[in-house]
């Protein structure tokens, strides 16, 4: 099990964002959106949240996803990782069919 703080990430939405806000942001702003269930492993972390959890893929090399800390709530992170992008494309449950909202 890794630690998210050891990874180089960008905050897309700040701590305290609601889970709904994170999902809506991803669905609205990313052309490629995949949905996973709680407990899905991404960058060696288990993803927590209300299913379905939306992951946004950018240029085939960055993933934006919600990350939850018990004391602070949920925030959206963006992390670069081509291998993880490919794994998501192969293992995520469903993909949003339409383009941008």
């Amino acid at each position: 099990m890794g630690c998210i703080e050891n990874l180089k990430y960008e905050k897309i939405l700040p701590l305290g964002a609601s889970f709904k806000e994170c999902r809506e942001y991803v669905e609205k702003n990313y052309p490629e959106v995949w949905y996973v269930e709680p407990g899905y492993k991404l960058f060696d972390e288990y993803i927590i949240g209300l299913p379905p959890i939306a992951l946004g893929i950018e240029n085939g090399e960055k993933i934006t996803f919600p990350y939850t800390k018990p004391c602070h709530g949920t925030y959206l992170l963006r992390i670069e990782g081509k291998e993880e992008v490919e794994r998501v494309r192969k293992t995520a449950k469903t993909k949003k069919q339409a383009g941008y909202r």
């Binding site: 889970f19 269930e37 209300l50 299913p51 018990p70 004391c71 709530g73 949920t74």
Partner: protein, 160 residues
């Protein structure tokens, strides 16, 4: 009279951030009550909340086993751990996210979500997954919440 609720074999108590005082008292109460009745109990939460419990209960008379939340979730995902009863304490959005996760990962378990804090109703409204909920405005005084939990767990009947 209501039939007593069957005593669960195993229980996981999921705690949120320790910033709301009633959680600490109720965690000790619930863990102790379950263990006293024969349930194998695991308390999970972040290191801070587990640290508070361990200091409050240095001989582990009440809480029993503990495990850091991320590790616990990992073990459940990997099917190394499950439970008959899962009680999730939630006083913020993160707590609801953890409750949803537990509901999803433990589909055969009885999941009870205790929603509390200064303004629990909007949080409780976010729950759209199958579970039992106990909702009560509670920050410093655990009495009302304790009564509700006692009733839901069937202890009010079994003790009379």
């Amino acid at each position: 009279m209501t039939d007593p609720v069957a005593q669960p074999e195993t229980a996981i108590i999921v705690l949120g951030c320790p910033e709301v005082p009633v959680q600490q008292a109720l965690a000790l109460y619930v863990a102790s009550g379950l263990r006293e009745r024969g349930t194998d109990v695991l308390v999970t939460g972040n290191p801070s909340v587990l640290g508070l419990l361990k200091v409050s209960d240095p001989k582990s008379v009440y809480i029993g086993k503990t495990l850091v939340l991320e590790t616990c979730i990992g073990e459940i995902v990997e099917r190394k751990r499950d439970c008959t009863l899962c009680i999730v304490f939630a006083h913020n959005d993160a707590g609801i996210a953890y409750a949803a996760t537990m509901c999803h990962l433990l589909p055969k378990s009885r999941v009870v979500v205790v929603v509390f804090g200064k303004d629990p109703e909007p949080l409780a409204a976010e729950i759209n997954f199958p579970c039992e909920t106990i909702t009560e405005k509670a920050v410093h005084n655990p009495a009302q919440l304790k009564t509700k939990i006692t009733r839901v767990l069937g202890w009010a009947v079994s003790r009379t």
